[in-house]
Every structure is written in structure tokens, then in C-alpha cells.
Symmetry: C2
Subunit: 421 residues, 2 copies
Amino acid sequence: MSSLRAEIIAIGDELTHGRVQDSNSAYIARELEPLGLEVRRITVASDDPEVLDRTFAEVCARADLVIASGGIGPTEDDRSRHSAAAAAGVELEFREECWQQITAWFEKRGKQATASNRRQALLPVGAVALDNLWGTAPGFRLVVGACTLFLFPGVPREMRRMLSHHLVPWVNAELRGLQPMAFHHMLVVGPGEAELNDRIAEFMRHDREPRVGVTAKEGMLTICIAARAVNQEAAREQCLATAASLRTILAQDLVAEGEDDLLALVGKELRQQGVSFALAESCTGGMLSSALIGLPGISEVYRAGYVSYSNAAKERDLAVPADLLATAGAVSEAVAGAMAKGCAERAEARLGLGISGIAGPGGGTRERPVGTVCFGLNLDGQTETWQKRFPDLGREYIRSRSVLEVLVALHRKLAGSSAGS
Amino acid sequence: MSSLRAEIIAIGDELTHGRVQDSNSAYIARELEPLGLEVRRITVASDDPEVLDRTFAEVCARADLVIASGGIGPTEDDRSRHSAAAAAGVELEFREECWQQITAWFEKRGKQATASNRRQALLPVGAVALDNLWGTAPGFRLVVGACTLFLFPGVPREMRRMLSHHLVPWVNAELRGLQPMAFHHMLVVGPGEAELNDRIAEFMRHDREPRVGVTAKEGMLTICIAARAVNQEAAREQCLATAASLRTILAQDLVAEGEDDLLALVGKELRQQGVSFALAESCTGGMLSSALIGLPGISEVYRAGYVSYSNAAKERDLAVPADLLATAGAVSEAVAGAMAKGCAERAEARLGLGISGIAGPGGGTRERPVGTVCFGLNLDGQTETWQKRFPDLGREYIRSRSVLEVLVALHRKLAGSSAGS
């Protein structure tokens, strides 16, 4: 990987107190990687002047490039510019041109800059001001010893725009020779994290290139292959070579490839193949529906969703036979299948999906403990059913694990299928 | 605040690469504050052995208490235990009792611990093992010079349980003399963050006690009052005194108090007042339903949910008149009201809610731009409708903002109401 040491600093009591989650740093790290910069450390510092001074001094002393966000607002506790100046051993100076922009920004919005906004025109001597066309506070670039420090506002919307507007061009112009990176994702469902590691251990060794990492989230394992080469194409080829070897090892546990978002992939498949669908959810309670409707354009194929949490709703809205509910029970493959068929027919959709399970904390029995979830899939009149027993890791886990189960089943059903096309 | 220096370390390439956002550290910081511990720095470190070694060494050298999470899984790149041992200048040793628990955990789930799971039974010499009843990897407590280091798994649900199970009791037992803190939350909807800041600026000054902070999330502003005193009661009284002064300033913008979770509050009100309800969602697509069904026990009052994204579904499932859809349009107060009435009647519920809006990116018109959302509320046969024009900050923002709007309306409707009781 790059020998250039890049670090990130995020500033604010709201972050160190945990009232707000630091989303800027993850965003900055993602933006830096394609530029050939790998972030190895992120520091979140409170507004406390002593902590802030030490953080800027320590990080700038060990890194070549530092991207900091936050603490340049108009209020008393915004002290990032002071700590940056202190780290560089320079004073702050009032920049008339910055003040002009700040006042102009307010006037454009029919407002008046206040006295406290004047603080935002204070920059370290020698700093290059970076226009902020999206808010009041300008950022700046400052040389601190052997390190180059960028300071941006903490407001994500402003920081993100200034990043692409000011940082990216500078990196491309100043840091030539960095090798670009390419990534390749493989989605795996089935084995546990440890089991997967045993199977691909040799690829995950730290000294090995391309890098192979695994992250687990609600039953889904995402393998990320990261390669660095003279150009994007070469890096991509290295990724694909490693992917080819992993493919044979993963076999049928490999759900999807070249994608790190199964939901978006399934949505694309449903639309491209013109598979109209309807949903009948019990324990997931609309979670699957809400996830799919989060995809723009899904209305082309989304017909209707039913949250039939009660037996009455299952009978009334999905035409699930009362005697079936009585004999098989609400949480049974038979009922899940009837729910899938019922919603497809009612909504006149090609595909119907039924989910009925026990998400807990209550409701479990010896035969059907919490975590038991039954699934039904009805495509063009043909019904399949299956059930899973997920570990009882909490109501939210069981519900989102159930949604994942359906997405995997849908992808397997639709991938390479020529349905409707 | 306390003079005791507490810091947090979060470990993992997925965090420093920005593929996953570090949620553990914010959670840990929030848990530490009521114990009297204020976090002033959070370090996110990659799995790179050199970075990890330096991070543990540096942080433990300057802090009194360090809570680290991540990097103790079974995989090759899990090296936190090595770096912790290095910082303390001790070796790793295989703990038979830990290995027993790991194998037992797998057997209980009808699985087998693998060779790489044995890594998870490696602990620094002198470390106190901390049972993990919710996953495979045990954590540990280790003395590193003048600092006490806790290392927990990175899996949030395991880390959270181990935190309350192992850390909280230890802090209470070992770190007496710290003044306890109390918190009081006030939920505000209406003013923007800047406007609210101006209105309560004097309370937010950094030198002022109790501390008053504001965080904004999808239109909801949460005021957090934090006080420290000789005992919890005294601290709570200080919070309430400040809350009393804020109440008069906030007036009708104050939605709820003493709660930081509006969703749970509304769920409690629905259950306690025995208000059976049904939902008819269009643009939110089941998001409101899924949120409510996330609340254990809600099935007592939840009757049915309908995601009527298409006009056909609105007519068929909610009996919305076709001519009304034609004349008023799908996104209109009239249709939202008809949806609320339709789902309540169909599901035989006392309360019906209808949401119909334009979440974008497409579908906006001059009269009804993206962000226009219409709401209908039908309680015991009486229908109310209203509409909002939310800023177009993206599909997800508009959808979750719409869910918040309904929760606020429901709370205002139910708070203090004696319906059904």
C-alpha cells in the first residue's frame, strides 16, 4: 500500500460524548482510497483546548497528510483554527477577503453576519484559504512541519463538497506517483466468520497482496479484495485474479460478486426482468418493503405490501385459510406459502413473498423457539417454502436476518434467470 | 468533569477504510458519562500491526482508563490482543477455561469450534478474562502501566452487553468518588438547529452547569441536559431546574420531555391506552410499520399495515375512490385522509394513519415538488389531514422525516388523552 501516511481528525464534544456519530471520517477515508491514500488512523477529539492542541501536534508530527473536520464555526468552543496554528507555530490573522465572502454569503440570504462570524475569517499565518461556497466558514490548507493539513467545516454537506472541490484536485496535482487502488466485493452467506477465515486464511495474511478482508453484518459476510497497481485496470485485474481463486473455495456459499449491496442488486434484477411483486410480512413488519421502496424507480415493479401481523389480517387480506392457521399454526411453511400466494394473487403480481416467524422476546415454544422464521416464495403461480432457525440475538437481529434471507433467495432465483426478458 | 482521563480505541480496517462507520465508540462514550467519566479522545486504528501496537502504547500511556473494541475475532487480521500484550510488555498465553467456553458456545448451537477459534482463547499474561455469553470471543481487563485497559469484541451487540456486564460494575466498584451524572432530554420539532441555539444560547455556554447540548437528526432536535452532583438525586434536580427554564422558551415546539426515544414513547401510549391501529403507507413504504413492530408487545394493538404504493392498491385495499385519485391526485390531503379511514375500517382498528408523498428523486411537479407529503389521521371515525413540504435532502431523509411527523402527531394526540382508559 501507499507509503504516504494519511490520518483524519474529527473535532467536537458531541462526537467524543457520543451524542453524534462521526460520519465525516468514514466518508473522507472512502474518498481518499481511490486516490491511493490509505487511512490507518482516525482521531476524534473533544473541543477541550488542551486535548485539541495535543491532537493536532501529535497527528501532524507523525503523518504526511492530515484531513481535519469540525471546530471552525462561529462559537466560543470552535478552536480548531487555534490548535492548527499552534501546531504550525504561527499566529492567527484576520483575512479581509474571507470576511467579504462570509458577509456576502449572509447578504445573499437576506441575513446579516454577526460579530461572532468574524472569528471565521481568522486563519493561521501562511495558510491557504479554501472557499466554502456552501456555508459560512472557509477552510484552509496549512503546512505543519513535514505534514500538509487540510481543515474543513464539520457540517457533512459542506465538508463533502469542499473535499471534492479543494482536496481531490490538490492530491492529484501534488501527490503524483501514488498507485491507484481497485476493489472487488464478494457477498457470502452461510458459513460463520471463523469458518470462512479457515477456508481463505492464506489469502488474508497481512503480507499478502492483494489485501483480502472480511466484515460480518447480520449474517452477511462481505469479502473485500483491495489491490494497488500502476493503473486502475491493472489493479482491477489483480482483484479479479484473487476473486477467481476464492470463487472455487466459496462454492455455493458465494451469493453475489462485484457488488457490495445485495439490496440494490436485487432491486435491479426485479426491474430489469420486469418481475412485478407483492409482499406479505409478519414478523419483519414492513422492514423488507421499506428497504425495497428505498430504491428509486422500484415503483415500476412494486405492486403492494401487506403487514399481516395478526391471524385476522392473514385471513382477510391474504386469503390464508382459517383451518390452515389452526392446524399448521401461523408460523409454518404452509402459512408462509399461503401468504406468498395470497399477496401475489390479490395484488396481481408475478412474484409473491411471505414471511412469518417468531422474533421474540416472547412467543417461542419448544418446537418453534424464538428465531424460527418460515418463508414462502410464489413466482408465476409456483410456490416454494422453507424455514430457518436463526440464533436468538434479539428482535432486530432476527428481523433483519429474515430480510437478508429473502434477498438472498430472490437473487438466487433471479440471477441469470431470463424471466420476462 | 472528572479529572480521570478516559479514552476509547476502535479497531478494524473496515473502520479506517470507511466501509463501516464506528458506532461502538459513541455508544461507549454515552455509557461512560453517567458513570462520571468524560471521554476526550477516540482513536480508530487499522488492523495494521505497527499502527495497532503504537496506538495501544500511546493511548494507554496518556489515559487512566481505556476501552477498546474490535480485533479479537478468530481471523488472521485480529491482532488487538497482541498489541495489548505488547503495550503491557507481556506474552500471550492459552487459557484453557476460555477455550472450554468457546467450544461450549458452539456445541450449544450444534456447531464445532474451528482451529482458528483457538486464537480467541489467547490472553495476555495477567489479564482478567471477561466472559462473553453472547458470542465466541472473551474480552479481558489488563493493567498497562498506570492505565487499566478493557478489550471487548467489535460486534456491537456483544460489546454492549459486555460493557454493562463487566465494565459498569467495575467502574462503580473501583472508581468511587466520581460524582454521578444525571441527564434530562427534551425533544423539539419545528425550529432549525441554529434558531434553537439562538433561543437557548445562554444555557449552552461551555462554562455553565448543568451542561446543555443540542443534537439534530432528521428534523428532530434533542436537547440533552447533563448535571453532575454529590448524588443522582441532586444531579437530577439540577437537570429539572434547567428544564423548567427551557420549557418556557421552547413553548409549543417542545414535543416530549424526559424521553430521548419518541418511537418507544408513542408505542407505550398506544398500548397503555389500548388504541388499536392500522397503517396505510405510500412513500414511506412500510418504514413506519417496521419501526413500530420493532417495539416488543406492540402486537396487542397493531392490527394491519398496507403499503399502497400504486393507485390500484389504494382503491383495492383501502377503498380510496377512483374519482378522488383522479381529481385530487394520489398525493393530496383528501387521499391521505381516505387512506387513513380505509385502513382503519378494513382492519377494524380505532386509529388509522395515511401517508402519501413524493420522496423523489423523480415525481415532483411545480405545485407538488419533491418533499411534499400529505398525512391523514383517523381516530374513532374522525379524520384529520395536513401536509408538509420537507426540504429535498434525499429520498431517505424525506421518508424518515415523514415517519417522524406521524410520531409527533400521534404523541400530541395521545399524550394526556384518556382515550380507552
